[in-house]
């Protein structure tokens, strides 16, 4: 009997959108964003209304730091599923990048309301711990007396409740809030890692070094040129920290004495 030497060619099955998205997700998990993006595009051509596909597209945009396209994709998902936790987390992170802490917090709260067991959302919310509005502490004018090193570019003192009590120059307040927010996130990360309370930080940009000291009542940061030696920067921030603590303590005493004197006058 003659042996069959060939078989009719079978058509190779095209991958389904779900398979494409699954493969794209695996690639993304290993940092292969380019290949993942190619597969997501293929998948979305086949299934343009796939939530998974749009969510993956959003992640890939975010990973490539393309904020607006990422935001559009997260919103696309939320228009179809208003409490999608991953899309809410994604939008929350983008809101924070814009400095919109309230929108960030709102999205995280929405995500946690729908899915209370969502560790990433809870961690971020902890990092943005609610800061209760409070009157500025006395002594903000006294902080103007702090002697900055000649090379210093900026100084910020932020109270534990989030109120900026000193910013030099005044135009650099946004930077102070940014560093205070970063300190809040870092403090939560350190606690999650079991390291305890945040004490100090150094942030290096291409042009500057920001030296930071903090405790529950105060965050102080001084910005020095990038060429500053780390030891010198630490000495400066420690000196300013001690001086700021002293000025605030003196200011507090003055308020107490003034209040007592006013009380004595009223009695007499």
């Amino acid at each position: 009997m003659p042996q069959r030497r060939w078989w009719p060619a079978t058509r190779r099955r095209e991958p389904t959108p779900a398979e494409l998205f699954g493969h794209a997700d695996r690639l993304r998990r290993t940092g292969h964003d380019g290949e993942a993006a190619e597969l997501v595009l293929q998948g979305l051509r086949l299934d343009p209304i796939s939530t998974t596909g749009h969510l993956l597209a959003a992640y890939l945009h975010a990973a490539r730091r393309s904020i607006e396209p990422a935001r559009r994709e997260f919103r696309w998902v939320l228009e179809r599923d208003a409490s999608h936790p991953r899309a809410l987390l994604g939008l929350a992170r983008l809101a924070l990048e814009d400095g919109d802490v309230d929108s960030c917090r709102e999205a995280l709260v929405r995500a946690l309301r729908a899915y209370p067991d969502f560790p990433e959302a809870q961690a971020l919310l902890d990092g943005l711990a609610e800061r209760r509005p409070a009157p500025p502490p006395p002594g903000r004018t006294r902080l103007d007396r702090l002697r900055l090193p000649a090379s210093a570019r900026a100084l910020f003192v932020v109270a534990g409740d989030g109120v900026m009590i000193a910013a030099r120059p005044e135009t650099a307040r946004e930077e102070g809030y940014r560093l205070a927010r970063a300190a809040g996130l870092a403090a939560t990360a350190l606690q999650r890692a079991g390291f305890g309370r945040l004490r100090r930080g150094i942030v290096a940009d291409a042009d500057d070094l920001h030296f930071l000291r903090t405790d529950v009542t105060l965050t102080l940061a001084v910005t020095l040129p990038r060429t500053t030696h780390i030891t010198q920067g630490l000495l400066e921030v420690n000196r300013l920290w001690a001086a700021a603590q002293h000025e605030l303590a003196v200011a507090k005493d003055e308020v107490v004495q003034a209040t007592a004197a006013a009380g004595t006058r009223r009695v007499s």
């Binding site: 993304r28 998990r29 290993t30 940092g31 292969h32 964003d33 380019g34 290949e35 993006a37 190619e38 997501v40 595009l41 979305l44 343009p48 597209a57 992640y59 945009h61 975010a62 990973a63 490539r64 730091r65 396209p69 987390l89 994604g90 992170r93 924070l96 990048e97 560790p119 990433e120 961690a123 971020l124 990092g127 946004e174 930077e175 940014r178 970063a182 300190a183 996130l185 870092a186 403090a187 990360a189 350190l190 606690q191 999650r192 890692a193 079991g194 390291f195 305890g196 309370r197 945040l198 004490r199 100090r200 930080g201 150094i202 942030v203 290096a204 940009d205 291409a206 042009d207 500057d208």
Partner: protein, 141 residues
């Protein structure tokens, strides 16, 4: 559907392995308790952390912190964000920007800060050199 700019990586699996090796090497450096590579969207690309630390929340915080510093530095005209360290009573968190995400090292408080910074810098250089940008292969809608 929005536009995704694509840069195909031809030897992706070997680079992925290399990145994991880099993270493992960083985690083994003296005084380092753990290391992570986190994409800018908070996704964990590689992690080697000891001591029962929950990785996902830590990664979410690290990526958010890194992006916040990165965006702030750019917006405020300080040039690109490079590295940060935050120290607490019992340890220090180091963070550095790389081409594919943020490299995080968790170190003992007794450790030599300069040695850990050098190890972190080496890790970033290794990742950046293995993930040098390729020409965009396609752009689609």
């Amino acid at each position: 559907m929005s536009r995704l700019r694509l840069g195909l990586e031809m030897d992706g699996s070997s680079r992925g392995r290399q990145v994991r090796d880099v993270v493992q090497a960083l985690a083994r450096a003296t005084a380092v308790r753990g290391a992570l590579l986190v994409a800018a969207d908070g996704f964990v690309i590689a992690a080697e952390v000891r001591g029962g630390v929950a990785i996902e929340p830590l990664a979410a915080l690290a990526a958010t912190l890194g992006r916040d510093l990165e965006m702030g530095a750019t917006r405020l005209g300080h040039g690109a964000f490079q590295t940060a360290l935050f120290s607490a009573d019992d340890g220090t968190l180091f963070l550095a920007a790389s081409r594919i995400g943020f490299v995080v090292a968790l170190a003992d408080s007794q450790g030599n800060v300069q040695a850990v910074r050098s190890a972190l810098e080496e890790a970033v250089n290794a990742i950046d050199s293995s993930w040098a940008p390729s020409e965009p292969a396609a752009s689609a809608t």
